[in-house]
């Protein structure tokens, strides 16, 4: 539990950043480092066949969790690669005009997407595609109506995350997918934060392309998958990485057998455990939020109140700066929207995208719970955070002004 003798964080509330491997995942992986070490591309000896069988099993495990067919799973190095392949590969395949000409097609995304979606979209803009980045409302949700009003005759691709990594807000993915299918537009979703928390059925949810990652779901780092729909409609991509033609030509390179086995095992574990785990995490998150909001004034939970992932909360603490708050609670590993924690000196673009002021964006913490989070840890963390906010507000000139009834937005601050 909590080790007071060191400053090392002992409570891990950053599962949206990464998760530890489940020991059952590690156990499944181990033989593939040493004994079953073959290259699944070696088609003429038993070492290769054994590795291929392991890959087949993993492919089925991933497909089962997504409600997909085995042939629809492409293994990658992670969600960033999956997003790049999906977005750039679909744009190249479905472009309306040849490279170099103007308006090669229109892409729809959103300003609060992960950089691994925004940057590929911006790259395509430079290469002659048009892109619309939707602005969510204050709740952070992108609805099918918003997507519909941005649709054009030349729209070729919609890419929207299922759940946001900073605020956990959930988009209306099945409805948006249905809209895209009506219009004959390819639909990609970055489901990195969604998979393993919430159920997926790519068929019923109208998804053409879905990105996921191993290390967010108690699997290893360096492995992920891209679901590519094969029927109604059949979706095709132009490969980005070329070479030996592995993964049906979509992703060349010798398969990361150990990683893929781990990803498969991590997916299999969710088949039996996800529903219970979701309920448990939801209970813990509600308890954390309830304790903090009942004991502090001027606290806001960012994003939609209900359409959120079960395990993640993003809270702004008025009049307190995020980095100093993390310094006061250093035994808890969390993320902050504060600029001071990043090199950019800009507060979180996701929180700004919701219309949250820079002052509250600087004052935010993201806490994401996981498989081994205990009720005792939640109680301890809630107490520690409340205590830290009280301490820092005693230091805060802004909190004094608030109590004196001075509107700090009316002061002419000398920005620096």
């Amino acid at each position: 539990m909590i080790d007071q003798s060191t400053t090392r964080p002992t409570i891990y509330f950053d599962h949206a950043a990464t998760t530890p491997c489940d020991p059952r995942v590690v156990e499944a992986m181990l033989p593939h480092f040493t004994d079953v070490f073959g290259n699944p591309g070696s088609r003429n000896h038993s070492f290769g066949w054994a590795a291929e069988r392991a890959i087949d099993t993993a492919r089925r495990q991933v497909a089962d969790l997504l409600g997909a067919d085995r042939k629809e799973i492409i293994f990658t190095s992670g969600a960033t690669e999956s997003n790049n392949l999906a977005i750039k590969g679909a744009a190249a395949m479905y472009q309306k005009a040849p490279a170099g000409s103007t308006s090669r097609g229109h892409i729809i995304s959103c300003i609060i997407e992960h950089k691994a979606v925004l940057d590929p979209c911006q790259r395509l803009e430079k290469e002659g595609f048009d892109a619309t980045f939707l602005h969510p409302g204050a709740d952070g949700v992108i609805t099918a109506d918003m997507v519909e009003s941005a649709m054009r005759d030349d729209t070729i691709l919609v890419t929207l995350m299922w759940a946001n990594n900073e605020i956990g807000v959930i988009n209306e993915i099945p409805d948006i997918g249905a809209l895209c299918h009506d219009r004959g537009v390819v639909f990609h979703t970055d489901a990195t934060q969604w998979v393993g928390k919430m159920p997926v059925n790519v068929k019923a949810d109208n998804i053409d392309l879905l990105s996921m990652s191993g290390h967010k779901i108690y699997g290893p780092k360096g492995v992920g998958a891209l679901y590519v729909r094969r029927r109604r409609p059949r979706v095709r991509l132009v490969a980005i990485q070329e070479g030996g033609g592995q993964e049906r030509g979509y992703r060349s390179g010798t398969l990361n057998v150990t990683g893929i086995v781990g990803l498969g095992k991590a997916c299999e574990l969710f088949m039996n455990e996800m529903d219970d785990e979701r309920e448990r995490l939801y209970g813990l998150r509600k308890k954390l939020e309830a304790t903090i909001t009942s004991r502090l004034d001027n606290v806001q939970i960012n994003g939609h109140p209900d359409k959120r992932l079960p395990h993640l909360t993003n809270i702004s603490f008025g009049f307190v700066e995020g980095e100093s708050l993390m310094m006061a609670t250093k035994e808890i590993a969390m993320s902050s929207g504060s600029a001071c924690t990043s090199a950019s000196l800009e507060p979180s673009y996701v929180l700004k995208g919701l219309g949250i002021g820079d002052d509250l964006a600087h004052s935010s913490l993201r806490m994401s719970l996981g498989r081994w989070t205990t009720p005792e840890e939640v109680d301890y963390a809630a107490d520690a955070i409340v205590e830290a906010v009280v301490k820092l507000r005693a230091l805060s000139p802004l909190y004094d002004m608030y109590k004196e009834g001075i509107d700090i937005t009316k002061i002419e601050w000398a920005a620096h």
Binding site: E321, G322, S324, G357, D358, S396, P397, W413, A415, H416
Partner: protein, 144 residues
């Protein structure tokens, strides 16, 4: 971000936290100079207040409040320690580089020390304005 031991010490045991009354009270009090620098949108606001003994001309007390990261809190806490017992001119001579050195601030935190220097100057200017004292620059110019 890893902090130096002096930053952590000031952060955990900030010196001279507080003020000399409400905003209105200190505004009316000619003994007090107030510096309020930074901006909430930038993630740093420092409020520094000095109390000056009119007979000796020495800063006999200083208080701070700070909204900001650990380095900003430490820089303003250190500023209050250094100001006590100094003349106004000595206070004006405090440089941000001295704060950087004392607290071993990394390059990304230098702006915290700059803000502390601004707060010191701003508080001293406020006291001078209230009491009709010419600024150092003007005096320096006339001395030449």
């Amino acid at each position: 971000m890893a902090y130096g031991s002096k930053v952590i010490d000031h952060y955990e045991h900030p010196r001279n936290v507080g003020n000399f009354g409400t905003t209105q009270e200190v505004k009316k009090n000619p003994q007090i100079g107030v510096g309020l620098v930074g901006a909430p949108e930038c993630g740093d606001v420092m409020q520094l207040q000095i109390r000056v003994d009119a007979e000796t001309g020495l800063i006999d007390d200083a208080r701070f409040k700070c909204f900001g990261c650990g380095s900003a809190i430490a820089s303003s806490s250190l500023a209050t320690e250094w100001l006590k017992g100094k003349t106004l001119d000595e206070g004006m001579a405090i440089k941000n580089t001295q704060i950087v050195e004392e607290l071993s601030l990394p390059p990304v935190k230098i702006h915290c020390s700059v803000l502390a220097e601004d707060a010191i100057k701003s508080a001293i200017e406020d006291y001078k304005n209230k009491n009709g004292i010419q600024t150092t620059e003007t005096k320096a110019a006339s001395a030449h």
